[in-house]
């Protein structure tokens, strides 16, 4: 078998991918982002059976296979349950461009929520990050109704 054994350069065909999508958000995301845009509140939904408050909000609790119920305000404060600092330029899936490095990222369990959510941490130094640290969501001034309305989570002292 050959393994890059050919000396001459073989043809490579460049194909550029440009596809456009319009994702349907559905009623739950729609309400979540509308609420965040208008009031700055972070809302989860509660499963009537297991009573977990789920983020992202969604129509069905997968554990119980029943429709989720009431909306519950969660956060904006929360606890870091997992953390990292990213040193590798990852592509931001919404812009297609790499994000500046390094940056902190965490799983944050917002007060009142069951699910922990992925987000950016203000603190990027791994020496200053630890599990159990308290953080608070920092929102943008001009909110557009998307997850980017939460800029990052800042470290707080309590």
């Amino acid at each position: 078998m050959k393994r890059n054994s050919q000396q001459e350069e073989l043809l490579r065909v460049p194909v550029h991918m440009k596809l456009h999508y319009r994702f349907p958000a559905g009623a739950h995301y729609d309400k979540f982002f509308e609420e965040m845009k208008e009031t700055g509140k972070i809302m989860g939904v509660k499963c009537p059976e297991c009573e977990r408050v789920l983020l992202p909000p969604r129509p069905v609790c997968g554990e119980c296979f029943v429709r989720t119920g009431e909306w519950v305000q969660v956060g904006p404060k929360g606890t870091v349950v997992a953390y990292t600092s990213i040193y590798f330029p990852f592509v931001d899936g919404t812009t297609g461009k790499p994000r500046p490095i390094p940056y902190g990222a965490g799983l944050i369990q917002l007060d009142g929520a069951y699910s922990a959510i992925n987000h950016i941490l203000e603190e990027g130094d791994p020496e200053k990050l630890h599990i159990g640290m308290r953080v608070e969501a920092v929102l943008t001034e001009e909110r557009e109704g998307n997850i980017g309305d939460i800029l990052y989570f800042k470290t707080i002292e309590e």
Binding site: L19, P24, R58, V60, C61, F65
Partner: protein, 380 residues
């Protein structure tokens, strides 16, 4: 095939041009719950789940992940066939026959409204030769159409009759996206997209989902008073390069249907089948596929349509639902054909019921110009 696999529950959404009013998971949850209700089971009864979807049409990676909550697959086996929903039924059927599952949910969903269907279909073609030529499902379909029509002397008007029949019959189908009385002249006057395919010759772009529940022979008998059985199943893949394939020869569909007939003990499909639901993305394909599946001789598809053989009330009605001309979410189409076939055999086809239907054929395709072909025969 012995033992047999049963279809004990079916459900479909209404096909629409844009279901932007609800999330994909909402649509899928509804069809899954309805299929379970139809089968008289709940989530805990499910042993395994097979989904069918394609990442590029969904615009996200490993796109079946998004369905986890709504197909009830938490801590259960889930697998995805990245292709037509009827292919996913093969996977579900084999899991049952292998003894790995007693009750299996098969789900397919697609949102044609999210992206550009024909642009995405360009990414199905090999990147070195055919993709860079700009081929897509439409232009490739037009090549096949011309080849077929030239070979057998079929006119555009004869193809247009397929559209007229299907749009008319779709009026009996509450799930249809497009349904109305149309004329051959209207089809002929619709804008030319890729000669000889005109706008009305092509299936619409659709949003929708479909679900079925399969069961082992034992569970099928235990759970259902009138289970519908999969009597035969065949599938086959043809060449990718259009120039390698006899575009009208249809080797893959001939083999797939012959295998399904052999398993079901069918010698003369025209006589022994009561109804057929066929996946034709363009009008000419319904004529071509009916020939290749042996409903008539080669080149006679238009003739038997003209004679009313494949119309409602004919010897073998084809697409009482309106077929893909009535609604065409990618990957969902083949599973929809099976749902319709099952409803016919159950006698639950309502206004589109073929009287006394006992044996029905469901057909699905994947890739361009029917590269991948699936045929299933169901009966009671």
């Amino acid at each position: 095939m012995n033992p047999h696999v049963a279809v004990i529950g079916v459900s479909q959404t209404r096909f629409e041009a844009d279901k932007g009013y609800e999330a994909i998971i909402e649509t899928v949850f509804k069809v899954v719950r309805e299929a379970m209700r139809d089968a008289g089971i709940n989530r805990d009864d499910l042993d395994s789940i097979v989904t069918s979807s394609v990442d590029l049409w969904d615009g996200r990676t490993a796109s079946n992940q998004m369905l986890t909550d709504v197909v009830g697959s938490i801590m259960k086996p889930e697998s995805r066939v990245a292709g037509d929903g009827l292919g996913a039924v093969f996977q579900g059927m084999m899991a049952i026959l292998a003894g790995a599952s007693e009750i299996t949910l098969v789900v397919s969903q697609c949102r044609g409204s999210m992206g550009d269907h024909y642009e995405i279909s360009n990414w199905v073609f090999d990147p070195i030769y055919q993709q860079t030529l700009g081929l897509d499902y439409l232009s490739a379909g037009a090549l096949q159409a011309n080849h077929y029509m030239k070979q057998f002397g079929i006119s555009q008007k004869e193809c247009a009759r397929v559209v007229v029949k299907n749009l008319r019959d779709a009026q009996n189908n509450p799930y249809a996206q497009v349904a109305r009385e149309a004329t051959v002249a209207e089809v002929m006057d619709s804008p030319m997209w890729a000669y000889p395919i005109k706008e009305m010759d092509a299936a619409p772009i659709s949003d929708g989902a479909c679900a079925i529940i399969l069961a082992s022979q034992e569970e099928g008998k235990a759970l259902s008073k009138n289970p519908v059985w999969i009597l035969g199943a065949g599938s086959c893949l043809d060449s990718h390069y259009l120039g390698d394939r006899d575009l009208t020869g249809g080797d893959a569909l001939i083999r797939a249907s012959e295998k399904a007939y052999a398993m079901a003990g069918i010698r003369d499909p025209l006589k022994e089948l009561d109804v057929a639901e066929v996946s034709a993305a363009f009008s000419y394909q319904e004529l071509l596929w009916t020939e290749l599946m042996g409903f008539c001789g080669r080149g006679e598809g238009a003739k038997i349509l003209q004679e009313g053989v494949t119309s409602m009330g004919g010897v073998l009605p084809v697409n009482p639902s309106g077929g893909m001309i009535a609604g065409n979410p990618v990957t969902v189409a083949g599973l929809t054909r099976l749902v319709e076939a099952v409803l016919q055999v159950r006698g639950e086809g309502e206004a589109r019921q073929v009287r006394g239907a006992r044996r029905a054929l469901a057909h699905g395709t994947t890739g361009c110009c029917g590269q991948g072909q699936y045929v299933m025969i169901v009966g009671n």
